[in-house]
Subunit: 347 residues, 2 copies
């Protein structure tokens, strides 16, 4: 073995099947079949070839295999979520679903730039990805790419799909129900809703669910307070809710964890106890925020990893030729209970 004598890292050529075959004294065809458990040969021959491949450190060239099989065992993941707040859990789920099938993931950040999007989509197509998953940071906006008529399957996850496509999204209304119903169960009667801007579809979906649950429970529905997704807005909204002109709420359901954080901070500044006087629930379950609030924040988790997992598995079956019904699939959220809601009132 000459490879012992290299001082600087010399990048050795990988060993090929041809070399394995030559070393084992068989043809490449036989070697291939031996390693893949195909064909017929004596157990002794098969074992000898396997042992040789092992010893030489042979690994089949995936490029050659892909060329032949017309499948690259790669998929592209497109995102415009630069900070990865939503992308990363989702990506982890996708990757988790695919790694067992030997499929790797190209991550492409397209920002909101159609040129960059086209660039990356072209690169994916050139590399013959088996499929594409598009993901974003909000459900009601389309990525700056056109994924129709690409010749390969595309799946949308947590982003606005093309018509006729398959998309996985979180069930925002369901998530909101979880939160408000939780408040109801705990005996809260005056539940407020502080959320993001009206330009977001989820704001309306969640607000409607909020109203529905209150109606179902015979509770008064205050008009949701729309603002921005920021801590500052949560802080400010408390000023509106507790201005003394109206009956103060005993629970606040917030559109995201940052708003909830702002709400909790503002309540503390006013000397209002959380959770004893007012319960607070957030949305997104952004752990690093939810766990840092005092008290730790109960929050709705969108199960993005599971969403990614489902998207990955569905893409896989699509690539495998299985037909799949187009349409929007809503995946349930779950409520992560921490300490910002307390125990049942008067219970």
């Amino acid at each position: 073995m000459a490879s012992d004598a290299q001082p600087t890292p010399v990048f050795a050529k990988p060993v090929t099947l041809r070399e394995v075959a030559a070393t084992a004294g068989v043809s490449v065809a036989t070697a291939s079949k031996a390693l893949n458990g195909q064909g017929r040969m004596t157990a002794e021959t098969r074992e000898r070839i396997r042992e040789t491949a092992q010893r030489l450190g042979f690994r089949p060239n995936s490029l050659a295999q892909s060329l032949l099989r017309r499948r690259s065992f790669t998929v592209g993941l497109l995102t415009n979520d630069t900070y990865g707040r939503f992308s990363l859990p989702l990506m982890a789920g996708v990757s988790d679903a695919l790694v067992d099938a030997g499929v790797s993931v190209f991550l492409c950040n397209v920002e909101d730039d159609p040129r960059l999007g086209q660039l990356h989509v072209d690169a994916m197509l050139d590399k013959r990805v088996d499929g594409i998953i598009a993901t974003g940071k909000r459900i009601d906006r389309h990525l700056p790419v056109d994924l129709s008529n690409l010749g390969i399957p595309a799946i949308y996850a947590f982003t606005q799909p093309d018509p006729g496509a398959i998309a996985f999204v979180s069930d925002d209304a369901g998530g909101a129900r979880l939160a408000v119903e939780h408040f109801c169960r705990l005996g809260r009667r005056r539940i407020a809703h502080v959320t993001g801007p009206a330009s977001f579809a989820v704001v309306h979906a969640r607000a409607q669910a909020y109203r529905d649950v209150l109606a179902e429970n015979g509770l008064p529905a205050a008009e949701p307070l729309l603002g921005s997704w920021s801590e500052a807005w949560g802080h400010e909204a408390v000023g509106t809710l507790f201005d003394g002109k109206r009956e103060a709420p005993d629970a606040v359901f917030c559109g995201n964890d940052q708003i909830a954080r702002g709400v909790i901070d503002a309540l503390r500044e006013r000397g209002i106890d959380v959770p004893d006087e007012v319960g607070v629930i957030g949305f997104d379950n952004w752990e690093i925020v939810a766990e840092a609030t005092r008290p730790p924040l109960t929050s709705v988790d969108m199960n993005l990893a599971a969403l990614g997992r489902e998207a990955g598995l569905t893409l896989l079956s699509l690539v495998g030729g299985q037909p799949a019904e187009p349409g929007l699939r809503k995946l349930p959220c779950r409520l992560v209970v921490r300490q910002s809601c307390g125990r049942p009132l008067g219970g």
Copy 2:
């Protein structure tokens, strides 16, 4: 099989060079040369072939090209930073550096699981990536993978490298200097340092720089307060700093933005004004936190995108056969000034 009568979109076979050649009435060799600007032929022939390729929507099969060129134009990015706090800016930089060279990035999250690491490294090797970049969430910990003797170049960025490898890291001492010198320039005299646990190498590097700058400026150095990276610790540390037994600081340099956030909140609770009475600087410039603090937080930015860019470019030159000196390359940090330090005192 019901899949014969396609209800779902049929995925058409991509058009090959052979088809382009046949359509244009030339050989594949000529077609290839025409499209790559190689070989000699009449301008008319070349143009006809180009036009045909265009019309048919031909795109060269990257797999076949890679097989021939023995370069896949892909690299693997390994990370254990699940939340992507550090990985994503870094990844954006890597991607940015590589996209122009037509190189795509496989993102692999290996958690801290050696088995998962091996799985992903094997997958990368099978897919014949041209190189690998390893990145993590702290500089003094090694990823659970062995990247030596892989036969392809590997670069480390923001993680502990193997000996003899090339690594890019942030200059933490330099970053700390920036922060403390900024305080000095503003006329702060009693500068405290609240930072993370002693188990982190960066804690010591920054603390030493903190002491050095104070010594250089003839200022008293208090012992740095070591704790966790959390808001809660920042909050708690204020209790220690402002216990009345010692002279209260007029500036706090924090080990990260969350600590700084905790410090600022605690100061507000005590009625101590930031920045008038006490200036605060954070580390990491995690914008979503830094901009949400009141007042917005001045923070040291590690330039992770630039780090990723450098790592990407270096890997590219390594892949291209250029030699490169092994060793640790420290890239400078920069101070992002917001409003938590105020203007020069008495200025």
